[in-house]
């Protein structure tokens, strides 16, 4: 028995090392001088802060970082709040057309943004109508609204709204909250009803405290998702000062001649840090939240 455990530890240890190797490698190389980076040396150098500061200042990583941080936090919090309330209505409230609305939300699980970029690009980037009257005369005309390429959009090219607003709703999050709410004993709500508490008090005093793991798990899922976005910002953001960090990485080694790989590796390491911190901070809630939603 003991013998078996040791073998398991050895295998898992080796696997952990192999999985971490590319990142450890990047971390080591980010500390080396341009000369050392090109050698096979795997000893840490002392150029880490120089590399980081070059990337931070010369390649505007401070700006990419701020942009990415802003959009990721807004998506993480906004999506979670909106989905919480949507799931609340689906589980705890009685209204007509519930099945249809649930279907309407859940079908979007199979509509990843990447698949929609062509249509989404026009909707987000085209200039809005000059006046409300002009917009309405287009909007109330079903032939034009539905059967011709879209005429007016939001005019959000290069604006943070373009990479935030389309992602504030999520079928995944609504679904996870719904699963979680359905497992909450009905007696809790009955007790709350007997006390004469309305939906708001029930949400605040009962539901919210019981949902910590699900919220924690969704914070991780949504932050990582928002932080790692690539294709959509690459397409919709043309102005470098509004760009996100993942696309900013490409600028670091866009011209393959004379790339300073030490700096590129420093850039990758910086890019990894925020989602890693969120994952480690919320690790327990994340694992519990996922385990719970899995237990259908």
């Amino acid at each position: 028995m003991k013998h078996k455990k040791i073998i398991t530890h050895i295998i898992l240890g080796i696997a952990s090392f192999l999985i971490a190797f590319p990142l450890l490698f990047a971390l080591l190389k980010s500390t080396q001088s341009p000369g050392q980076v090109m050698s096979a040396r795997l000893m840490p150098g002392d150029m880490f802060f120089r590399n980081v500061s070059r990337v931070w200042n010369n390649y505007s990583f401070y700006r990419y970082m701020a942009n990415s941080m802003k959009i990721s936090l807004v998506i993480m919090v906004g999506k979670t709040i909106f989905s919480f309330f949507a799931a609340f209505a689906l589980v705890f409230m009685d209204f007509k057309g519930k099945k249809f609305i649930f279907g309407f939300i859940i079908v979007t699980l199979m509509m990843p943004t990447e698949m929609l970029i062509i249509g989404l690009f026009d909707v987000v980037s085209l200039q809005p109508a000059a006046s409300a009257g002009e917009f309405f005369s287009w909007f109330i005309h079903p032939g034009k609204l539905l059967f011709e390429p879209v005429q007016y959009g939001f005019g959000w090219t290069d604006k943070a709204a373009s990479i935030v607003v389309p992602f504030l709703a999520s079928a995944t999050a609504v679904f996870m909250f719904r699963q979680h709410f359905r497992n909450i004993p009905g007696s809790l709500m009955d007790a709350s009803l007997i006390d004469g508490a309305g939906p708001w008090r029930f949400i605040l005093h009962v539901l919210f405290p019981l949902s910590r793991n699900t919220i924690g798990a969704l914070f991780v899922v949504q932050f990582v998702y928002a932080w790692n976005q690539y294709l959509w910002p690459r397409v919709i953001i043309r102005n470098e000062s509004a760009q996100v960090i993942q696309v900013g990485l490409k600028a670091l080694f866009g011209n393959s001649e004379g790339v300073e790989w030490g700096q590129v590796m420093a850039g990758s390491v910086i890019t990894m840090i925020p989602p890693l911190i969120i994952l480690i901070l919320l690790h327990d809630q994340f694992m519990k939240g996922i385990a719970f939603s899995d237990n259908k």
């Binding site: 455990k5 050698s39 026009d122 709703a169």
Partner: protein, 309 residues
Amino acid sequence: MNTHSQYRSRVLPWVFLSPTLFILLVFLYYPAWQSIILSLFRSNLFLGTRQFIGLENFRNLLTGPLAPAYKQVFLQTLVFSVLVIVPGLLISLALASMTNSLGKHGKIYRILLIWPYALSPAVAGTIFSFMFNPDTGAVNTFLKQFGGLQPRWLDNPVLAFVLVVCGCIWKNLGYNIVFYLASLQNIPKANYEAAELDGAGVLRKFFRITLPLVSPVTYFLIFTNLTYTVFEAFALVDLMTMGGPMGPPPLDKAGLTTFLIYKVFQDGFGGSSNMGFAAAQSVILMIMVAAVTFLQFKYGDKKVHYGGE
């Protein structure tokens, strides 16, 4: 499931639902519909011209001079998906069940194995680009010291393809292991203890207990990994190979690592900026995703063991 008594209100449910419904309608449903409409037009991103041409974009994809490239890309994406998903899921399940078998002593691996969940395809692509750069990359500098073998990693079609597969498997590991670990935690220990009393070995326990009991998660993961490899591998390809290099004939119609979503990007936002042509490809993707989802709902449920309540 519990049946809840429910709050009744005419307005409140719609207040709660409206932000989600509005965003889904305006930024998912309408763009999806717009992609279908655009696929019937000849539309140029930069010139802003739009001309109705019926099904010509689809005809061009399936027959004519542009069709062989699309067929090759289609095939490549299929091979790529299988090569990423099958080994990726096997490795993940093996590592997760080993970690699970250690119980409390395996806690450290729960962090060491799942951290790639936070890894972005762009970072994975960047690190791989440096490690395997044929001239300045670390792997070749290392190899130079031992024998001098210098493979042209990212310039060689086969090696580039394999590297993108490896990068994608690496990136997915964290996600897959998270879900397998979560699912393994829900398997009652008693199952394993009973099997041990019967003298079942490690492999027997794995195939008779673990594998059947995680099958719902496996189905879920096949589906999510499929969308991942088809759609999100974009960043990996964009940073490592930009869709290239060209394969040997007959695979010389398109870059060997150009996958369906990369082709949508190239045709819609690249040189020719033919948005209608790219929209037609999006529509084909939608039909495929719809078909896979349908199959998953129709057949997935029956063959899968869902743990008892």
